[in-house]
């Protein structure tokens, strides 16, 4: 197997071009998968025998919640790389991920409230799952506020990396909260060890939506990181040579 030099791709100049070539494909895939997932979820999937049509919220609630956790872990991953190898791209990737993660955390809480009201009779309860997801949302906001408050890029990236890494402990807490505590929130719909606790067609629509959200996030984060690269490398010669920048 050929040895890949990952640091080559971690150079902002290389990554800028790579991201430009790749993001449209992820955007197209996300659109196709979302269309398929919504069609399966809203046209094909049957009514739930307990929750009627109300259960269809699951098609955005679970994917959004998963993405809110995955994106935070991705931020922690880039932060570890940034602190150990001091690569410039790491800070930019962490920063590009944060707004999308915050949005999915908010959507998880919002759709959860809209699901909780008709099923539990309450928009919100201070249950372990809900509370830890709320903390995740605040961690995202804290990361964004902290990094935008520090002008010096290197210091701001370091401070942000610390929040991202320390806060990552909250992600397994969210995931296992339904096991560790008695929660009003139901247990995992899908797990690696057991057969899924839902009808197959419902499961497929949910997984398609989850994949669509995943590809959407990749496309958007790659797009956003290009803007950040341009802003940070504005004095570099290669940026001045770009066709889209030449006056």
């Amino acid at each position: 197997m050929k040895n890949i030099n990952w640091f080559h791709y971690a150079a902002p100049q290389t990554f800028y071009g790579l991201a430009a070539r790749v993001w449209p494909w992820f955007a197209v895939l996300a659109t196709v998968l979302a269309a398929a997932g919504l069609w399966l979820g809203f046209v094909v999937a049957p009514t739930d025998f307990q929750q009627g049509e109300g259960y269809r919220i699951i098609f955005v609630h679970v994917p959004a919640s998963w993405m809110s956790m995955v994106i935070y872990l991705a931020m922690a991953f880039w932060s570890v790389l940034g602190l150990t190898f001091n690569t410039r791209l790491s800070g930019m990737m962490t920063r590009a991920l944060a707004p999308t993660g915050a949005m999915f955390a908010f959507l998880s809480l919002w759709t959860g409230a809209l699901w909780g009201k008709p099923m539990w009779g309450a928009w919100w309860v201070w249950d372990a799952r809900l509370t830890s997801e709320l903390i995740l949302f605040f961690l995202y906001l804290g990361y964004i506020a902290l990094t935008s408050a520090i002008d010096d890029t290197r210091r701001s990236d370091r401070a942000g990396a610390l929040i991202a890494i320390v806060g990552a402990i909250n992600v397994p807490i969210i995931y296992f909260s339904v096991k560790w505590w008695n929660t009003l929130h139901q247990g995992a719909s899908v797990s690696l060890t057991k057969a899924p606790s839902m009808a197959e067609i419902m499961l497929w629509s949910m997984l398609l939506m989850a994949l669509a959200f995943w590809f959407y996030s990749v496309a958007l984060v790659l797009y956003r990181v290009r803007t950040l690269i341009l802003q940070r490398e504005r004095h570099a010669a290669w940026v001045h040579e770009l066709d889209e920048v030449k006056p």
């Binding site: 049509e53 955005v60 759709t111």
Partner: protein, 63 residues
């Protein structure tokens, strides 16, 4: 087809507000995020172009 009419589809068996409130907020936020990212990218490009133009004209003046 699972739905006999559009009104039945929008009603979602009485859960319309909750289901469409969830889907609607998701659609709106995703659209806003895409829009915001595009605007930010275009503004950055425009700013870099302007800076380049200024730098070039000052070089020409020096010549």
């Amino acid at each position: 087809m699972r739905w006999e009419s559009w009104s039945q589809f929008w009603a979602m068996g009485g859960y319309g507000v909750y289901v469409w409130g969830s889907m609607g907020m998701t659609a709106v936020l995703l659209a806003l995020e895409v829009l915001q990212a595009r605007v930010a990218h275009r503004q950055t490009l425009a700013q870099l172009k302007a800076e380049q133009a200024v730098a070039q004209s000052s070089v020409e003046e020096l010549m």
